[in-house]
Every structure is written in C-alpha cells, then in structure tokens.
C-alpha cells in the first residue's frame, strides 16, 4: 500500500467516488456553520462595522488561491519525475478552481476596500501580486487549451508551472519594493502575539476548512471528469480506426 497506487486512474476514480460524498457533506457543514456563524452571530467590528464580515469569504479564498498554485506545482513535479497521468490531469483540473479563487479574493477585496480605504483598487503589493497570480493562471490554462497532444501539453504546462512559480515569488517581492502597502499585514499567524480576536477567529476557521474541502472536492471531481473525457476520446479514436 503506497500513495502511488492512486496513480492508477481506475483506482483513483474508485477511491474518490467513495470519498467524494463525505467531502461534499463536510464542505457543506463547514461552510454553512462558518458563514452563518460569521454573518449572523458575530459582533460588528468597532471600527469597520459590518464590513468586517467580508473576511469570511476573502481570507479563505485568498488562501486557496495560493495553495491551489502550490498543489499544481507539486502535481507538475510528480508528473515530470514519475509521469503519472492522474497527476498531470489533477494539475489541469486545479487551475480553473484556483483562478476563480483568485478572482473571488480580488473581488471581495475590492468590495471591502471601497468602504474601508475609499477605493476599489490600489496598486498595493498584495493586490498587485494577486493580479499577477491571476495572469499566471490564465496563461497556464491557455497553454493547456492550445496544445493538441495531451502528453506534450502536460510536459509544457508543468515546466511553465515550475518557471512561473519562481517568477511569481520574484514578482511578489519585487512589487514590495515598488510600492508601499495599504493592505494590513498578517493577522492570522500562529506565532504572533497580536492576532485577530477569537470571536472572529473561530467562525473563520470553519470557513477556511470549508474552502479547503471545497477545493479538494472540486479537484477530485474535475480530475475524474478529465480522466473520463480522455477515455472517451481514446475509445472514439479506436473506433475510428477500426
């Protein structure tokens, strides 16, 4: 029994089929608990008023936007090293989810920034690097779409993912240099004295868990779809030859 057994598409589909209902159920529970608790049963912030509740969408989606890219990076590395097709397809499946998470983070950030900072958008380092991350997602997905041969596409996109990660990190620190921030620093660190108040923290924890599970569920589902779509194409190609 090793992790690599799941590189077998049949095994992957069978296992994820069993796991998926549970993941969906947990996602629902976490998200409903977190959002209802966060929206209706937490006090308003003494300075920000009720806009503070945007945090329950904004923070988890921003977190997943970055982690989705990290997951794609790991999946691409596995594809390059061990050439498991499921891994390449999982990276492909995660990209649109990550892109949407980035878009959600940007949009909710704009809604939050409008009343708080008085502007929808500022060229703040965090905002800018998220926009750049979004562009990376777009390029990655476009490259997948553009290449017809599946293996070539997987190879090229995984190398793009590796190179893109380096440049994304580079851009992250470059924009720091370029403009000073309006966005607050980290308030969720585990090792700092001054953090977000517990009243907001616990529902937020549920929301983060919900978003993580949602991401896992969507990636499983989309990977299954990719595998099945590729099988269908293979079957059609075989029939065409016969």
């Amino acid at each position: 029994m090793s992790l690599w057994e799941y590189a077998n598409p049949v095994k992957f589909i069978r296992t994820t089929d069993k796991v998926l209902p549970w993941v969906w159920a947990l996602t629902g529970i976490c998200l409903v608990t977190g959002l209802v608790w966060g929206f209706f049963f937490t006090p308003d912030d003494f300075r920000q008023g009720s806009t503070v509740k945007i945090i329950y969408i904004h923070v988890p989606s921003a977190l997943m936007a970055i982690n989705a890219w990290l997951m794609m990076l790991v999946a691409s590395l596995i594809w390059i090293v061990r050439r498991h097709h499921v891994s390449a397809l999982a990276a492909r499946a995660a990209a649109p989810v990550g892109a949407v998470m980035t878009l959600i983070a940007l949009a909710t950030g704009a809604f939050w920034g409008q009343p708080m900072w008085g502007t929808w958008w500022a060229w703040d380092p965090r905002l800018t690097s998220f926009l750049i991350l979004f562009l990376f997602y777009l390029g990655y997905m476009a490259l997948w779409e553009a290449i017809e041969n599946d293996d070539t596409a997987a190879d090229l996109t995984s190398i793009l993912c590796l190179v893109g990660s380096v440049f994304a990190i580079l851009s992250r620190y470059a924009v720091n240099f370029w403009n000073q921030g309006l966005h607050q620093g980290a308030t969720l660190s585990l090792d700092k004295e001054e953090n977000i108040s517990d009243v907001f923290w616990f529902p937020l924890l549920f929301c983060i868990a919900g978003f993580v599970l949602l991401f896992v569920a969507l990636v499983f589902l989309r990977t299954q779809t990719e595998i099945r779509a590729r099988r269908t194409r293979a079957l059609l190609a075989r029939e065409g030859q016969a």
């Binding site: 750049i132 562009l135 990376f136 777009l138 390029g139 476009a142 490259l143 553009a146 290449i147 070539t152 190879d155 090229l156 190398i159 793009l160 590796l162 190179v163 893109g164 440049f167 994304a168 580079l170 851009s171 470059a174 924009v175 240099f177 370029w178």
Partner: protein, 218 residues
C-alpha cells in the same frame, strides 16, 4: 556555436524586416504616447523613463516569435537539434542573437527617443544603463516563451499572455532604476536587483527553454 550566431545575425539583417522592425515599433510607441497623454513637458518628463521601458519591452515582445518560428517551419530546428551542439547552447545563442538584433538597438535608440519625451538630463545615463542590464533578461525570458509556443499555430497572442507576467520583475526594477535616476536618487539597490535577475535568468532559464524545445521537437 559561432556559426549559428553569425547565421542568425545574417538572416536577421539580410532577410529584411526583422532587424529594423522592433526599432520602428519602439519609435512608434514613443511617438504615440504624447498624442495619448498630451504634450505638457513636465508630465512627459515624469513618465518618460517608464514609457521608454514599456516601449522597449513591447518591441522585444513583438520580435520574439521570430526566434524559432522560421527555423521550425523549414525544419532547420530539427537539424540543429541533431547537431553535436547541446540544446542549451542553441537556446542561449538564439537568445544572444535576439538581444543583438533587438535589445542592443533599443538600448542605443533609447536616448534619442528620450529627447522626444523630454527626458530629464540626469536620467539619460540611467535609462541606458538599466536597459543595457535589463534587456538581456527580456531576451532570455522571451526565448523561453518562444520555445514554449513554437509548435502552436498562431501562437503569438498566447506567447504574449505567457511572457508578459514573467516580465513583471524585470520591468519593475528596470523602470525603478530609470525613475530614481531621473529624480536624482540613489539607484544602487534596484540596479543590483535588476542585474541579479538578468544574470539569474541567463544562467538558469536556458535549461528550461531547452527542455521545452526538446518536448516540442519530440
């Protein structure tokens, strides 16, 4: 290696278009900017360093698909791949040829175009220096993008989408050097970081470009 370099340079000069095209594009962009933002001298001189950098970057981008596309079409890229020269070497030479035919003329033309944008006097040297340090990075990164999209028909637009985000750090530091130079501030930190990016991509990115080119030639 030298033969490949001279061949690429000859082709770029004699085949027409390739050599002057990037330069003309740079000229057009800088001429269009005053039409867009108005002819006020103080406004122009404030944005001039950034405009010159963006113009150079776009001119560079425009000529990228020439790096591999023609060789790919007539099959000489396959011949090069089977030559004793390692693929990393081929990619580096291609990037160097691209820089000599595109980057270098841009560096030399930048001060002339700076006059059109009423670039402040102290900024001239820093614009030239930052472009000279930064354009090799643009060429090398662009070679990676060109190698990535060489097999795709009409891949030019896709290549722009892939390459432009990769240009962000270079542009930030390059334009920062030029801007600080124009305002008479110290330029050491961004200049060192820009040089770091250039040397870093020159050293490392040819391996990635060679890898994707091998995949595309498979």
């Amino acid at each position: 290696m030298k033969a490949l370099l001279t061949r690429d340079l000859m082709l770029a000069i004699r085949a027409g278009g390739g050599f002057g095209l990037g330069l003309s594009f740079f000229l057009i962009v800088t001429v269009l900017v005053p039409f867009g933002v108005g002819p006020q001298t103080e406004l122009l001189s404030r944005i001039a360093p950034g405009v010159l950098w963006i113009g150079a970057l776009l001119a560079c981008l425009l000529s990228l698909d020439r790096i591999f596309a023609l060789d790919w079409e007539d099959g000489s890229l396959d011949l090069l791949a089977t030559a004793p020269l390692p693929m990393e070497g081929i990619v580096s030479v291609k990037a160097l040829a691209h820089w000599i035919t595109t980057g270098l003329p841009l560096v030399l033309a930048a001060p002339v175009l700076g006059v059109l944008l009423s670039l402040p006097i102290p900024a001239y040297q820093w614009v030239v220096i930052s472009l000279a340090v930064g354009t090799p990075a643009l060429s090398v990164i662009g070679t990676f993008g060109a190698a990535l999209t060489v097999g795709i028909k009409r891949g030019g637009l896709l290549m722009s989408l892939l390459v432009l985000p990769l240009y962000v750090p270079t542009l930030i530091f390059g334009a920062e050097v030029a801007r600080r130079g124009a305002e008479g501030l110290t330029v050491q930190a961004p200049l060192l970081l820009l040089a770091g990016i250039s040397f870093g991509v020159i050293a490392l990115l040819p391996f990635a470009s060679a890898a994707v080119l091998r995949i595309n030639l498979r």
